[in-house]
Symmetry: C2
Subunit: 185 residues, 2 copies
């Protein structure tokens, strides 16, 4: 079954839309076997960050907000977008402070992950921050409506096991975190 | 910090593009605080499936293919799209047979997950199939160029730990699978 998988060749590329929250292009591509696909869509995004933030008492700092595409209020990790030239760690620390009021602690990158390498070009840097503490109130912009929740490890595992942590970019680092810090579940 | 998080109201909605591989709409939405966002983009997709397929010898059936948005050849789980009205289990079994030539075994759904509940409306059903066997050759269409690989558990964990399994919709069920079948890693 061993065979060489080659890249495609992009014959043409044009943007359909370039707005802050949606940049989409369509590429005309040629496969190694000569087949031409006139429309392969690519979604371009800046890189994203999220963080598994844990207090000294072992509580997970979670956020609850409305998610429009699914039309549901959901509990998630704190997450956000890297500003231009902003290092991922700095972006994650800024987002945690703004969305939750928590800061400090020991930070490490647990995972780098993609939305969908076939159609999305960005990556998400996922962090674990241990020992974060509340240092002030939330600093939300007017389009953000976010409740902060402190949850136990078992409560977060419950969310995951009930498929209520739907966001794959968050479920992946959380499951890795639980796999690496395994105990009877 | 307890507060009630309410849904947004959609004031207007129109499609930017409706093609088989990209359906995007822009919604004009009003937040509970009265703020109006004139452009929240939603990407509509059919539901997807993927499968952690394991042979009786404990080998993981993986696929290697070119992923255009990242411009890289990558190793992934077998995955695909539910045809209209096709049950997810049937779609996953069909995709495994077509992409890899493997079939049979005991199937169970390990996870239901979303791409991004804020901007994508579809979910992915993730399965584990234990005891699959090669029953024939691949049945690829002309736009597919896929190599089948059999990998050990440690090799798959290596991919994950090196951030080479970039696709979040696959990394999440794989990490859950490894968390649930933990041993010294």
């Amino acid at each position: 079954m061993k065979k060489e998988i080659k890249k495609w060749t992009t014959l043409e590329s044009r943007y359909l839309i370039r707005r802050p929250w949606l940049t989409a292009r369509v590429d005309k591509v040629q496969l190694p076997n000569g087949v031409v696909n006139p429309e392969h869509y690519v979604l371009e995004y800046p890189n994203w960050v999220n963080v598994i933030a844990i207090t000294p008492e072992g509580k997970y700092v979670m956020v609850r907000q409305y998610r429009h595409a699914m039309d549901e209020v959901m509990i998630e990790l704190c997450a956000g977008t890297c500003e231009q030239n902003e290092p991922p760690l700095q972006a994650a620390q800024r987002e945690l402070r703004e969305e939750t009021g928590y800061a400090g602690g020991q930070w490490q990158e647990i995972m780098v992950i993609g939305q969908n390498p076939s159609i999305c070009n960005n990556i998400t840097h996922c962090f674990v921050a241990s020992g974060v503490e509340c240092v002030g109130s939330q600093q939300l912009d007017e389009s953000e409506d976010i409740e902060v929740l402190l949850m136990s490890r078992d409560e977060v595992l419950g969310l995951l096991n009930r498929n209520e942590m739907l966001q794959a970019l968050m479920a992946a680092p959380l499951w890795k975190h639980f796999a690496l810090t395994h105990r009877e579940q």
